[in-house]
Symmetry: C2
Subunit: 427 residues, 2 copies
């Protein structure tokens, strides 16, 4: 393979078919690779990236130049850029993933059955993972590392604006794979910017086991609608904090402030604050002042506005909006049930928190709120693979099947049954 | 609701929308129901079924008569019939499911993180499960029980030929739900035989969390192709037994015979026997004689035929065929790798077994064969939820995501993250 893609792919369907079959074959070889070989590959890739700083920056400069010519905005160009620091961080990320425990091959629950057979479950790779992402080139190294560590072959499709950067990183990955004796096709970065390649990828059920889209909502919806392959995806993060009337006011203040203002653009940021009517009069003015200091615009229900005065009225649309911005919807509610009804009606099943010192209400909230993360007395901002101790994160799933919430290495594996016998037959 | 369906459903889309919304609302109520209430409902449904034997048989007689008029074959009419024994077995099945441990609400891996929060995972219902099945009316009670036990609301769509039987069972289910104080809409059996209802069901992503088709391959392929909702499905069972040259011949003989002949029509029945060339001369003639006694037709590769003489030559198609009949394809292979290559190329990732006394080969087979059940020295016929100790089985999944292999109550649940804090915020 080669880093000048356009000329190489006259027939996208045939090219993608070849990529898929190579990935399937590589997955079988990976399934028999041992932990040491996969870790060795990750370290070798890190070294290859460090050794290639100059060529990575040169290829990245081509992408940046093309991006400027196409008039990409400054934020996008910033995400696209590979600096010395970012290249060093990529290599460091690979080494951190190498240091994680190997999830593959672990056998659990191995028990004898009355028939005399022993039945257990073995954690195994999913097989071939297709990842479709946008402009950040570091995702290429990160996604490759997570797939490789968990024993999966990967087909990566990055944004076309990062095409040269991604192919340069792919070359480093192939060097590392080769040094560890693993097939170079274990990680393939699609070489054509042709969008038809994505359509082909999403229809290769025989070659690809799961598709993970990473990026904006538009990308994710397009991929889920078009895919014939199961998708692990992240859609909205309309997260709530509910301050109960039995909340500790200082904890409520700290959590409501942190959940909104620690970062505005993240999926686990609070978008709607629900406040029990019994504590609203005392806590809302104090919180409103803090939000005002941070420049957060409040949009309130009528009862909120009766307490706070000069704030915008929330419309129906506000309760369903993921602002990803310094805006917060606020609603005063009568009780826990109303709060949970609101979350069921308007939430996105991502992350929701209650602040309360009441044991029974905490238990009910934990059990009844149907979100990927449900919290008591903690900021929604903790919903994150690293904070949860997963060691890595490929994304946060808002699906219910297979992987829910932050997805680490375990989410890239599945369990098969293993049966050990001594000649048993069924009677 | 009422048991005379046709007249009731003038607008299928509106009817299904109502069914979906009622299921979603019932799922929320079920999520706060306790173990005792759900078990009480299962016992009450069993009693209602026992009390309704006469009306169940009368409604079933209507289906049987309509089936005879439509010229259904004898096997289908037999599956359709509700006898006293089958009605008693339905009630007994409900009580067995009531006696199983409640999977819902269990919290695992609750650990402190450096930030001070405690993070764990809670097992919760999937929400609303849509089950589409064929003519056996007992599936109505069985599927309802598994969904209810695992805290899920169910939308059931049985075969139109069992319409009256299914509605009569549905009436018993509603009685039991009511007696336990649970919503009658927790289990809804679709009241119209109109096929458009299935199309509507498969597009209600907002109301239904997972679709489980149970029946023939035609049904399952149609449902998977059409569904916009994740599907847990069972496709082919092209299962293999590989007899290694280091096999104990008596174990190999017993397992190969049992895996093929204990039952012919089941998905975990062996369809292809692979035999190491080093043991083929001694074991194949003995096995061939036993198969002949059982009336099993053998179809062999050239080397098999060189040993056994007068058997049919296997064609390429034989290696990919799930016979579900007394037919067996036999191939002599050079070694373990060739056997595993054959399974990877022709198997359906359902259940595959090795017979060997060699430790290293057993380990390789367990690790490298990518099937939902992988066995050493045991008959493939053990691949079953009851034999595995799951206590119940809604089906065997040949998918990789979420649930793989026999699916019991756990497969009808998912894990959410729970976070317990004392006011922690993210720094």
């Amino acid at each position: 393979m080669n880093a000048t893609p356009e000329s190489l792919v006259p027939d996208v369907a045939a090219y993608m078919r070849q990529v898929g079959e190579q990935a399937r074959a590589a997955a079988r070889l990976l399934s028999r690779s041992d932990t040491a070989a996969r870790n060795q590959a990750l370290h070798a890739i890190a070294e290859a990236i460090e050794a290639a700083v100059d060529s990575l920056k040169a290829e990245n400069a081509r992408d940046l130049e093309a991006g400027r010519e196409r008039g990409l905005d400054a934020a996008l160009l910033d995400r696209l850029e590979l600096t010395d620091d970012r290249i060093a961080a990529m290599a460091e990320g690979l080494r951190q993933i190498a240091a994680l425990p190997d999830p593959v091959g672990a056998i659990s629950d191995l028990n004898y059955r009355p028939s005399g057979i022993q039945v257990g479950r073995m954690r195994v790779p999913l097989g071939v993972i297709g990842i479709i992402y946008e402009s950040r080139p570091n995702v290429t190294a990160d996604a490759a590392a997570l797939c490789l560590k968990s024993g999966n072959a990967a087909i990566l499709r990055g944004g076309s604006e990062a095409q040269h950067s991604n192919q340069a990183i792919a070359a480093c990955i192939r060097i590392g794979l080769g040094q560890a004796g693993l097939p170079g096709t274990a990680v393939q970065v699609i070489e054509t910017p042709d969008r038809a390649a994505v359509g082909e990828l999403l229809r290769m059920q025989d070659c690809v086991d799961v598709i993970i889209p990473r990026g904006g909502k538009g990308l994710i919806e397009r991929v889920s609608n078009e895919s014939r392959i199961p998708v692990i995806k992240h859609l909205d993060g309309v997260c709530h904090v509910y301050i109960d009337d039995r909340a500790d006011p200082d904890k409520a203040y700290a959590i409501a402030l942190n959940a909104k203002t620690q970062r505005y653009g993240t999926c686990n940021t609070m978008e709607t604050l629900l406040v029990h009517t019994g504590i609203a009069d005392s806590i809302l003015p104090r919180l409103a002042e803090a939000y005002r200091d941070k420049g957060v615009e409040l949009r309130g229900c009528e009862r909120t506005r009766a307490i706070l005065g000069d704030i915008t009225a929330a419309t129906d649309a506000d309760w369903d909006t993921e602002y990803l911005a310094p805006i917060l919807a606020v609603r005063v509610v009568d009780d826990l049930d109303t709060a949970m009804d609101h979350i069921a009606a308007h939430g996105s099943q991502h992350t929701d928190a209650i602040v309360t010192e009441d044991y029974g209400r905490a238990r009910r909230f934990l059990r009844e709120v149907d979100s990927s993360s449900v919290m008591v007395n903690a900021s929604t901002r903790f919903a994150d693979g690293f904070e949860y101790g997963l060691g890595a994160e490929i994304g946060i799933s808002t699906d219910k099947l297979h992987a829910r919430g932050p997805v680490g290495l375990e989410g890239l594996t599945t369990l098969k049954f293993v049966v050990l016998g001594d000649g048993q037959v069924r009677g």
